[in-house]
């Protein structure tokens, strides 16, 4: 059995080498397909990252009245936790609020002087509320405006990024659609290319195939080298894509860092960590696609 497998691999490699230029073109076309799929993957990752960073920025700041005591603040916080859709609540104490206010206004001597004149801390505590979903914020705001909370609240403020989010979603959706169409087009071209390559290889090997049949080779032994050839195309195309993909990622990384100003997101590291999965899936996809194309070509042109 091992000898048979080795021979099939050998015949598959022969098929590849005997029409080397055709093989090169086929691998190039498959690489382009995989590259467009990879680009689609990068776009998806980038848009998901952008959206999650934007979503992280949304919160409701609830400024409590300065006269509230610590126990009352805790009660309000605990009450707010029960509002449906609340993911987390961070408490900013009056002292923390004062420290950050002073830090923010450190270049303004008038503010510092005013605080000194007041003698005590004029700032109250605040609650920073995050919702479990984007849609939850309006509901939380509505709940905060009921009598249960209004008696303790001085002011509320929602940092709403929903319009930015929807425009990012809109743009990335359109780009992804376009990349998807390009990928589909390349996949179709790949199918036709592999089909044609196998067809030509069957024609080139017609003499050999005829002799194989004559001397009693089984039909799977005759067909298998063409499948091996398809797998070689997929393997080489995946390697070519991976070799081009990472330098290109490194090239666009500074632009990505600039785009994600203030957040640390390394595209190269992200894909390096997932490279086996990412390119493994592409390899399996390419193998399935090529085997489909070669099987159709064999059904049509290889009579065994």
């Amino acid at each position: 059995m091992f000898a048979v497998i080795l021979r099939i691999l050998n015949f598959g490699l022969q098929n590849f080498w005997r029409n080397i230029w055709l093989s090169v073109v086929t691998v190039t076309v498959i690489s382009l397909s995989l590259f467009s799929v990879s680009a689609l993957g990068v776009l998806t990752v980038l848009s998901n990252q952008a959206l999650s960073k934007l979503e992280e920025k949304i919160d409701i700041a609830v400024y409590l009245k300065p006269e509230l005591k610590d126990e009352q603040i805790q009660v309000v916080k605990n009450d707010a936790t029960t509002i449906s859709g609340v993911k987390s609540i961070d408490l900013v104490t009056p002292e923390q609020a004062l420290v950050s206010f002073r830090e923010r206004e450190k270049d303004n001597p008038l503010i510092a002087e005013s605080l000194l004149l007041l003698g005590n801390n004029p700032l109250g505590a605040s609650l920073i509320i995050k919702a479990s979903s984007q849609e939850g914020y309006q509901n939380i705001l509505k709940e905060l405006q009921t009598n249960r909370f209004m008696q303790y609240i001085q002011d509320t403020h929602l940092d709403d990024y929903s319009r930015v989010i929807s425009s990012v979603q809109n743009i990335t959706g359109k780009i992804k659609n376009m990349a998807g169409i390009v990928s589909l087009l390349f996949i179709l071209i790949t199918l036709l290319m592999v089909f044609n390559t196998i067809r030509i290889n069957i024609y080139t090997h017609r003499e050999e195939i005829g002799i194989m049949r004559l001397v009693g080779a089984s039909s799977w032994f005759i067909r298998a080298p063409f499948w091996v050839e398809s797998v070689i195309y997929a393997l080489l195309a995946t390697l070519v894509t991976a070799v081009i993909f990472f330098p290109l990622l490194s090239f666009i990384q500074p632009y990505v860092a600039e785009f994600f100003n203030g957040f640390s997101f390394n595209l190269v590291e992200y894909f390096k960590d997932r490279s086996w999965w990412f390119f493994g899936a592409q390899f399996i996809g390419a193998v399935l696609l090529n085997i489909l194309a070669s099987t159709i070509a064999m059904r049509k042109y290889l009579k065994v």
Binding site: A3, V4, E207, I211, R213, V215, F221, I222
Partner: protein, 228 residues
């Protein structure tokens, strides 16, 4: 029991063409049978049916007790290992050496390298090409190329060797060499079926002669002559 039995065999092609009509023919193990006849009389069609390249339209073909009339495509390789075939146009692979051409028949059937290395030199010795193993087909004479084909046909130690016009492209000296080789193979016990036009060859052989005419067996004579 006959090794090969054609029973009421007919073969029709589209357009009302009758290639074979009601052929009955039995060939015993170890026989040397020459099938002769003019072009288009159904000789090659009979061979095509025997090696299951085409199915018969009517009738039954039995080879070694195996009814191959409705043979499944996955069973064809097994049949082909029992029937070695030699054609007029050699069908050698030009980029393979003599040794590789013969080894190819064993390799594609899944033989182990050890088996290949042991059988191929024996076969090349039988056909007298043991000193030309590394030559390519283009470096051989027509007779030598046909001997390579015979060696390849014998690779699976078949019970039957079918030679369809094996001397059609050869001069008289090479023809005699090939016929002598076929006779030698027959003496080893292999049943040989020779399809030929060559009257001289058939008459010299003094073996069984089946004459085909218009898709039928016109005559069947033991130790016969080419009569038409």
């Amino acid at each position: 029991m006959a090794l090969i039995d054609f029973r009421n065999i007919s073969k029709f092609y589209p357009g009302g063409i009758v290639a074979l009509k009601d052929v009955n023919l039995s060939i015993n193990e170890g026989e040397f049978v020459s099938i002769v006849g003019q072009s288009g009389t159904g000789k090659t069609t009979l061979i095509k049916l025997l090696i299951a390249e085409e199915p018969a339209s009517e009738g039954r073909i039995v080879v070694g007790g195996w009814d191959i009339s409705n043979i499944k495509s996955r069973e064809v390789p097994l049949l082909r290992k029992q029937i070695g075939v030699v054609f007029q146009d050699f069908k050698l692979l030009p980029r393979k050496t003599v040794y590789e051409n013969v080894a190819f028949a064993l390799e594609v059937s899944g033989a182990l390298p050890k088996t290949v290395h042991s059988i191929v030199p024996q076969l090349l010795k039988i056909v007298g090409l043991e000193n030309k193993t590394d030559r390519f087909p283009r470096e051989l004479s027509g007779g030598e190329q046909q001997r390579v084909v015979i060696a390849r046909a014998l690779a699976h130690r078949p019970k039957i060797l079918v030679a369809d016009e094996p001397t059609g492209n050869l001069d008289s000296i090479n023809t005699k060499e090939i016929i002598d080789l076929l006779r030698k193979i027959n003496e080893f016990g292999t049943t040989v079926i020779l399809v030929t036009h060559n009257r001289e060859v058939v008459n010299d052989l003094k073996k069984r002669v089946v004459v085909m005419d218009k898709g039928r067996v016109a005559s069947d004579q033991h130790k016969g002559r080419y009569l038409l």
